[in-house]
Amino acid sequence: MQELNINGSSVAVDVDPATPLLWVIREQLGLTGSKYGCGIGVCGACTVHVDGRAVRACSLPVAAVTAGQAIVTIEGLSTNGDHPVQRAWDDLDVPQCGYCQPGMIMSVVALLADNPTPSDADIDAAVTNICRCGTFNRVRRGIHLAAERLRDGGA
């Protein structure tokens, strides 16, 4: 059994320690917001936070995460889907098919926590998630909108 702290709760899971964190989250814990896209850490659809840092959960063995580390998934980002980044995404109708967006949002939230006023170049360097529908123009606008709202007090 392994202890994990996920979205603020402690849970015990009984899995092969080599199992990627993504599949523990999806199949053991039933949190399916984090997606499988490539399995090799390239596309970013599986992005979650470990201690506030964006990680590609498909390529991180669950054994590499300790009970003291806080894992946050899209489900744990806010109580009513109202994190400023989620609200910006809502307001601008950013998603198309939406499959990559939980990972995209988690990447963006981590970026803004690190850098509340990202330039376009900062965004280019930090957000490397793939979106085949091609929502990038709205993703960029959404990042700037969320950053602005966060600066104004998270309203």
Binding site: W23, S34, C38, P95, Q96, Y99, I123, A125, I130, R132
Partner: protein
Amino acid sequence: MERVPLTLSRRDFVIGTTAAGVGLSLGLYLPSASATPEMADDTRELNAWVVIEPDDTVIIRIARSEMGQGTLTGLAQLVAEELECDWSKVTTEYPTPGRNRIRDRVWGSFSTGGSRGIRSSQQYVREGGALARMLLVGAAADRLGVAEAECRAADSVVTHVPSGRSLRYGEVAGDAAKRAPPDSVTLKDPRDWKLIGRPVKRLDTHAKVTGEQVYGTDLTLPGMLNASIRACPVFGGTLKSFDEARVRDMPGVRAVVRVDDTAVAVVADTWWQADTALRALPVVWDQGPNSAVSSASIAALLREGLDAHDAFVGNRAGDVDAALAGAAKRVEAEYAYPFQHHATMEPMNATARWTHERCDVWCPTQNGEAALQAVVEAAGLPAGQCDVHKIDLGGGFGRRGFSDYVTQAVKIARQLPGTPVKLIWSREEDMRHGAYHPITRARLTGGLDADGRLVGLRIRLSGQSILAAVMPGALKDGADMVTFQGMLPDGDHAISYSVPNLLIDHAMRNPPVPPGFWRGVNINQNAIYLECFVDELAHAAGTDPLAFRRALMVGHPRSLGVLNAVAERAGWGTPAAAGVFRGLAVCKTFGSHVAACAEVSVRDGRLKIHRIVAATDCGYAVNPQQIEAQVEGSFVFGLSAMLYGGCTVAGGAVEQHNFDTYRSMTIAEMPQVEAIVMPSGGFWGGVGEPTIAVAAPAVLNAIFAATGRRIRELPLRDTDLRVA
């Protein structure tokens, strides 16, 4: 229970609304269940499209699939416009393909491709909304004891105008549902539209930002097992044997099954366990007849077609040989376009539950009816005992018009009766078993007269036919007219230029790599061939590329309209920023007129796409903000293919296995797209695909302007832009 044999005839294929039929529809008409189709799904139903609950909730039924393109919202807008309902009360639901069959296809086609979702169902869904409104008004008038003609409906309320008395839709929906439908209906004049043409927000956004949206990969059913599959990576190869004993005792493994002649699957408690065991499973393949096929052998096959005598004519005018022979200047060039993979973010998947009495499948599909057909065939059960439950797609782009993954899921579930099995393809499986964008080459020859006017144009296309592989019944005397997309004399995919002497033909050369409809289909390469070559001709003529095009477009006012719009907005003819160069492209496809002007720079061989202005005239624009989203997204799809796409073949198999080798653009490479939505009215054009056509040629022409380098083979990553 009815037993209707499922036989397909040519007549059963739906190939779109035009003669050329760039029908992305793989729609197979399932025979109707009975002579007297079962009627309403529930007693509150006003008609197939509309249910109104006592609390005023409006349920609009959507037959087409939502895969990101926004058709769910657009179709709901069309119904709601005529229904005169309160938009804030609108919800949607998908009828199942099985219900459609039982009800004699009351919802029409479920096929979602060819940028057809809105344009080919707008008429009957608007009628559905209008007929429902008439029932509600009639019921309210009766209840109030007044004449129907004195009542009007708005915002889900029927008001008797003289008295001001009113009833909510929810109050009269029960009565309305019992009334006989009116015999005829008059739709609103477009000038009176209140909801169509408005940039309303999507109905499906919120669940997509919270992670609550359930995709096929997320589905869980009680007692469900998970499967991962491997089919012979060599096209045409078969499964010889596998060593089950080596993985049988691995954690979670429940079964190792021969799916059919080509594939093996591991079924386990979790998908991770299934996939881990599958990767450890020793498998022996019979590689079949194609193990020596390579990109080089395919290129040789296509090159031979450039000079071959057997070719189908797509467009002919005047005497091109004489015109070229008499031309003051001749220009010739050869272009090529590679295989592409759809690479939907969500890999192929389907969940099936099979018993001896019934088979149900839950899956993302662009064609629910074709998926049902696949289920019926694989399940070995009568059609009335099968159904498909559609789930929103994590991307489609044409790939999910095919039902191979549905068939596989049923074949696996059939070996575990009563147990639901969720099959998810690994990304590697997904890339190796695509329905690839067809590979083609082209030789183009143009003749200019002494004044630099284009007097003759000869285009020989050589390459793969999608129809020959997936719906041969749609070939026209052997010809695949879809290969001439954007080059036809008239229709939804007509050439945007008038050339007095013209010959465009196609030598069909089909390598053993399965082709499919890939967002945009054949316009992707045809627009590159034509638009880059027209650019070459303009330069050869010493004429500005915009002026050169305009001279050929006198008879094509709508295409000229979008071209002028992008040229003006981009500032064509005025200096761009230092080091920045512009390129143009225009075409008509899927019934819409689109154009783009790209601004790029190339420094030390590094390409930067700064800005793209793109214009769309789709006739009627249902939701302009979603059209903008489709236009922006089209550049990611089209430019990813141009920059990095391209599947290569070695040993009869595709060499790219994942997003590291089949790359896709990220936000860092995304240009700012300025979309001009300019609906001129009077027709319904498609939106999801047309703009992809102009993405690559506009950028390639801008690269030429910047470097003097003409790119004729893709992907661009193979070209060193430092070399002139």
